[in-house]
């Protein structure tokens, strides 16, 4: 299904919002205004945005340690995300989770996850729920190339295919897991080649081309909604920044020329899509700039929202432990 102009512009806005959110998070963490670990998604925005553009608001996702982009793409409120990074009560988890544990069950975000591949079984469970609900719901499960080393990857692909669960396995192959190149941890590097072992389609796509991702995801989503089962979507992308930071970024040992190439305007998923829009007359450079400005204002507002929110009261330490 072709996208409307408004939809295309919204895709661009989401790309920019994710980009600026994570650049800001790095800045805030460097300034020690927020806490804990930050894993920037910068450079991979087209995967989250492309996949979520193929989903309905009622569809569900599971996310990873590098999860800000997935949440924003699925529609999370950046105010509450920011408040969570600041450890405040108005954060999504009331400050209990932080960067690696943002969730919004109300809009189908079943949570970021600090455990590599740990969200995959949970995504399968959400897809099982959708299958039982029988209302055409679909789940998208994001995971990294490094996650393919874990047993949970294998187990969930088998079960999902066996049970024909309405599920998209979205592998974000950014060619590294922490500092380690994918070829140093995998016997063969084409992740889509796992699919035949599970009798499911495996599709490789340029993960920096948001429309290509969206098209591939749409096809997989339709298949899932039809009841034909899961698809392994292998998105080839690249992390433009370091793996993670606490007080300072972890050293980035990747070859500098490779990193530089992936940062080029024609490969960067944000500028690349901007050029696509402007060259096709869908938006002008001025409109694009206006969107960037609006995003920055939204993010300033998010920081203000976060800082205005109080820290949780230590007396509430035991709240939320058990449901009634």
């Amino acid at each position: 299904m072709a996208l409307t102009q408004a939809e295309l512009v919204e895709i661009f806005r989401k790309l920019v919002l994710i980009r600026e959110f994570d650049l800001l998070a790095v800045e805030l963490r460097t300034a020690k205004r927020i806490y804990g670990a930050v894993h920037p998604y910068v450079g991979e925005e087209a995967v989250a945005v492309g996949v979520c553009a193929a989903l309905r608001p009622t569809d569900r996702i599971t996310s990873t340690h590098r999860g800000h982009g997935h949440c924003i793409a699925k529609g999370a409120d950046v105010n509450r995300m920011m408040a969570e990074l600041f450890g405040r009560v108005d954060g999504y988890c009331k400050g209990k989770g932080g960067s690696m544990h943002i969730a919004d069950f109300g809009i189908g975000i079943l949570g970021a996850n600090g455990i590599v591949a740990g969200g995959m079984p949970i995504a399968c469970g959400a897809a099982l729920a959708a299958q039982l609900e029988d209302a055409g719901g679909v789940t998208a499960c994001f995971f990294g190339d490094g996650a393919t080393g874990e047993g949970e990857f294998h187990e969930t692909l088998n079960i999902a295919s066996l049970w024909k669960l309405p599920l998209l396995f979205v592998c974000e192959n950014n060619r590294y897991g922490a500092g380690n190149a994918v070829e140093s941890v995998r016997a063969q590097t084409d992740i889509s080649l796992h699919a035949p072992a599970y009798g499911m389609p495996g599709v490789s796509v340029d993960g920096n081309d948001v429309l290509a991702v969206r098209d591939a995801a749409s096809e997989a989503v339709e298949r899932a909604r039809r009841g034909d089962g899961p698809t392994l979507l292998h998105c080839k992308t690249f992390r433009m920044l370091f793996h993670a930071m606490r007080d300072a970024p972890q050293p980035d040992m990747r070859p500098t020329d490779v990193v530089a190439a992936w940062r080029g305007r024609d490969r960067d998923p944000v500028t690349r899509f901007e050029d696509h829009l402007t060259s096709r007359g869908i938006a002008t450079a001025v409109e694009a700039q206006r969107i960037r400005d609006a995003v920055k204002r939204d993010l300033e507002a998010a920081v203000a929202f976060a800082e205005a929110s109080p820290y949780p009261d230590p007396h509430d330490l035991l709240v939320d432990m058990f449901a009634e």
């Binding site: 989770g97 740990g118 399968c124 039982l132 969930t156 088998n158 066996l162």
Partner: protein
Amino acid sequence: MREITFAQALEEALIEEMERDERVITMATQRAPALENKFGDKRVRFTPISEAAFTGIGLGAAGSGFRPVVHWGMVTFSFVAMDQIVNQASKIRYMFGGQADFPVTYRCSTGGGMQVAAQHSQSPYSMFMHLAGLKILLPSMPADAKGLLKSAIRDNNPVVFFECSRLASTTGPVPDGEHTVPIGVADVKRAGRDVTIVGLAYYVREALAVADTLTTEGISVEVLDPRTLVPMDAAAIRASVRKTGRLVVVDEAPATCSAASEIVALVTEDPETFRALRAPVQRVCAAPVPVPFSPPLEQAALPDRARITAAVRRVLEDARRPDPLAR
């Protein structure tokens, strides 16, 4: 009251809860033909041997509106799924600020005494108790088994339900009709005066047998069954120990960092109970070894009536401390 087996009581509980609420679904690596016929293979899911996956599937489905009852088989096989238990199930609600409930029940069989050696004779309750975020149940009698499993399935939190293998074929009275047992409430299986035995699962029955025998010597034993391990009914245990002044805990897990250790700590850190204690507490637990296969070794490794009796005598003979209440 009718008498049925522990296993039948559990099956009744599951069927009743599945009839009561169609969001209850089951998953297991073993087929359950009777359940499948009754409720269909959509709700009664037979799974590949992929415990990590289906443990997380249960959690994900619970967070999406269903009430899965997941059977790991033996507790042994849960260790393959430990990431989903430790890092996900026990933390997911609190970590996400309480925004969703996860009503999932994990069942598994436990315990030794069946000559199936180390890997298949485990009782690692305490490893799950240590995790803040799981409710943990361990019934000893068919009626408790039924009533607690029903409560577990209705509970809106992840619950781990341990089923002692040696109890499966034991029988006991179970009320007809609706019968639930509240989570978190211990049960005095036999009232007594001189010493409290806290027994777990199979060892509640063994403690009762020891109590019977000691009665002939004029020794009055109180037998208390926690039934729930988390939240532990510390008040009931402490009240019993304050009454008897003596405590023996019997459990078939090895002693180190066990449920028995925890019960000892709960008793001795409470000032009033501590002051009422007239003798050192005794843990009667398994030897610190993987449960061996050969019957004479296995018997030596696990607690038995002789060792329970000896422990009772030790706490009674420790007469060097006067009864602080001069009873």
